[in-house]
């Protein structure tokens, strides 16, 4: 029953990240028909998708906004540690791969902000929540990339962990999120293979390269395990998210799956995982690992990791320093309402079919005809279409 949607209250409650009862969705309030609730429950029970216009419980919406926003923020903040090596990548091929990857991450961020917008919350609201620290991003990005091998370790371990986390989300009960995840997972798997290959090259290179690779794995292994969140016993949102079909497996289940994948891969790389207790358990068929230092996890989550302040500072600076640009785009679009593509978001995205204005080969170069039609400025791709890596490799 679409009429019972509670869009505005949700975005308001999302603003401070806390659960604020809204006028429309007071517990037991008669605004929601039983039929709508039954429909929602039936969709979830039969493993079908909830779409933006379907009625949904306010807490379901809030949970999704929090999770999708955190995911989007992670993509955008996650550009920083890898972007740190863009200008120093040691070969033109590696540089191109890394640039395509970082570009993919920006695309993923855009998708995910768009998915969150279907829940009635705007991108700039979410950005404000990020900058004020009221919404989080994955803590893994609060660790620094100190050497080139870290780029490989992030690809192999961090993207590997992200994939394990995200593949079940392709079946998430909320349609727009599930669909975004399908594409994102495909691209992440390219990134992981590229990271693995980078590390493999170093691990089979000179002594110094090999040492660099081992050092990176030593530093990234434990934080990667923490990416799955606290142990099941302490995970506050898990049970309800499972019931709603947002989450499919517990934190510990996913963590185990990741360790089971990574341990044999480390052997192929010829690198050691920094856990003396790591061993294969014949009986269960799983790799057993040592105790995770949860005090470190909590410290980083609380804002005291090596890079928390730096990451937010960079993001804040980019937004603040770009404000005059965005204002200009808005002002221009107001003055030129007929120029499609006058506002932001009209840049050609990778994979989009470009329609250049100053057309190559179709009009005399630089001639008045070539630019006579301002409407021709519109370039497709206003919706986020990432996938530089995947498109290139397809």
């Amino acid at each position: 029953m679409p009429g019972a949607m509670t869009e505005a209250p949700t975005s308001r409650s999302g603003r401070d990240g806390r659960s604020v009862p809204t006028e429309v969705e007071l517990p037991g309030a008669p605004t929601t028909s039983d039929a709508a609730r039954e429909h929602f429950d039936a969709l979830v029970a039969s493993d079908e998708r909830i779409e933006p216009r379907d009625w949904m419980p306010d807490e379901y919406r809030k949970t999704l906004v929090r999770q999708i926003a955190q995911h989007a923020h992670s993509e955008i903040i996650g550009m920083q540690p890898e972007g740190n090596w863009l200008t120093r990548a040691p070969s033109l091929r590696r540089k191109a791969i890394l640039l395509a990857k970082v570009q993919d991450e920006a695309g993923h961020g855009l998708y995910l902000y768009s998915a969150a917008e279907t829940l009635g919350v705007a991108r700039d609201e979410l950005e404000a929540l990020l900058l004020s620290g009221r919404q989080k991003y994955s803590s893994i990005f609060n660790y620094p990339t100190l050497t080139w091998a870290d780029v490989g370790a992030i690809g192999w371990l961090v993207d590997g962990a992200a994939i394990v986390n995200q593949i079940p989300l392709c079946r998430c009960s909320y349609g727009p999120y599930a669909r975004a995840m399908v594409r994102i997972c495909k691209e992440e798997s390219f990134h992981q293979r590229q990271g693995f290959e980078l590390l493999y090259t170093l691990a089979h290179g000179t002594d110094a390269q090999r040492a660099m690779a081992q050092d990176a794995v030593d530093r990234w292994w434990w934080p990667s395990l923490m990416m799955f969140g606290p142990p099941d016993a302490e995970s506050s949102h898990s049970a309800q998210s499972m019931a709603w079909g947002i989450k499919r497996f517990s934190n510990d289940e996913l963590r185990q799956r990741f360790v089971d994948q990574a341990a044999p891969q480390a052997a192929v790389l010829g690198l050691r995982l920094p856990d003396p207790e790591l061993r294969f358990d014949e009986e269960s068929g799983h790799w057993r690992y040592g105790e995770i230092d949860w005090s470190e996890f909590r410290a980083v989550l609380a804002g005291n990791g090596p890079c928390n302040r730096r990451r937010l500072e960079r993001r804040r600076a980019a937004l603040a320093e770009g404000a005059w640009v965005r204002e200009a785009a808005t002002a221009y679009a107001r003055k030129h309402p007929l120029v499609s593509g006058a506002g932001l978001g009209t840049a050609r995205q990778p994979g989009a079919d470009a329609t250049p204005v100053v057309a190559a080969g179709t009009a005399p170069l630089g001639s008045p005809e070539a630019e006579a039609t301002p409407a021709g400025l519109a370039t497709p791709g206003a919706t986020a279409t990432a996938g530089a890596t995947a498109t290139a490799a397809a």
Partner: protein, 300 residues
């Protein structure tokens, strides 16, 4: 990115292949280079001049790509993170193809990586325009407008070169340059005709980079007009001066539509094509080459 530029590319290498590579034929960089299909290789002085010319074009693409990459995580909007990275990636692809070709033409055989990572500043032949510091977004867009308005007609001509490697880069590059020009022109208009602040910044940015464009149209500083003429005749080069009218018409139109003033003045710095760069260039190269030079012979 255009689909055809990406075709035939193996899965592990997510980046685009240089436009010169035939589908499926991309050799790992560093592998011995085989003939790209030239029936009639230039020789002697002509060959050296061809190398220098192609090297200059490759360096232009490489260095501008580097500058644009510096914007990543600092762009004024997420859409621009994508767009700037996309332009940088296009230029990097062009650089790979052009430097690879330059390495085959005269001098000691070199790979594209050798040329990018192991040359000193005095050996780089890029124009000064592309190495200028980014400044604010307006200055970066002004630089891009002036560059792409030159590169598009250049590639449009070189795509007909009978050097198949050069023609391949130029054909793909022309499509890319058209987009780069489109993107930059749109921003110059938006900023020029946006707010008071953006207008002021756009004019300042344009004024700052404008003098450097003159270098694009100077005669190539090798062996006098005869060699250049021979290169042009063999479709290995375009006479720089021939591009100026087209460039000028494009740029003037955009600047006028953007409600900006075309800068005046007769200071025309040059020297990039002779390896005489700005002071900032050494820092750029130091960053670009630092890691590779720690183990130049290693595989990365």
């Amino acid at each position: 990115m255009t689909a055809d530029a990406a075709s035939g590319h193996p899965g592990m290498d997510g980046a685009r292949a240089p436009a010169t590579a035939a589908p499926g034929s991309e050799a790992p960089l560093g592998a011995p280079v085989t003939s790209p299909g030239l029936g009639d290789e230039p020789a002697g002085a002509l060959r050296d001049a061809a190398r220098a010319y192609v090297l200059g074009l490759g360096d232009d693409a490489l260095i501008l790509s580097h500058r644009l990459t510096e914007w990543v995580t600092r762009a004024p909007a997420l859409e621009e993170e994508l767009a700037l990275a996309n332009v940088a990636l296009d230029l990097l692809g062009q650089a790979r193809g052009l430097l690879e070709r330059a390495g085959q033409l005269g001098g000691p055989a070199s790979t594209a990586d050798d040329l990018a990572y192991l040359r000193d500043a005095r050996g780089f032949r890029n124009c000064l325009l592309v190495e200028l510091e980014n400044g604010d977004f307006a200055r970066t867009m002004a630089r891009q407008l002036l560059f792409s308005a030159w590169q598009l007609p250049l590639y449009e001509r070189l795509r007909h070169s009978n050097d198949s490697a050069l023609a391949g880069v130029a054909a793909a590059g022309a499509r890319e340059a058209a987009y780069h020009l489109d993107h930059a022109a749109l921003w110059v208009r938006r900023l020029g005709d946006g707010t008071d602040e953006s207008h002021r910044r756009m004019q300042e940015g344009l004024d700052a980079v404008w003098p450097y464009a003159a270098e694009l149209f100077l005669p190539e500083p090798f062996e006098g007009g005869l060699v250049l003429g021979a290169l042009v005749q063999r479709e290995l080069a375009v006479d720089p001066a021939a591009l100026e009218p087209v460039w000028s018409a494009t740029v003037h139109q955009v600047v006028t539509e953007a409600t900006l003033e075309v800068p005046t003045g007769d200071w025309r710095p040059a020297g990039g094509r002779q390896g005489l760069h700005t002071e900032a260039f050494g820092f750029l190269l130091a960053e670009l080459q630092s890691l590779r030079r720690t183990e130049p012979e290693a595989s990365w």
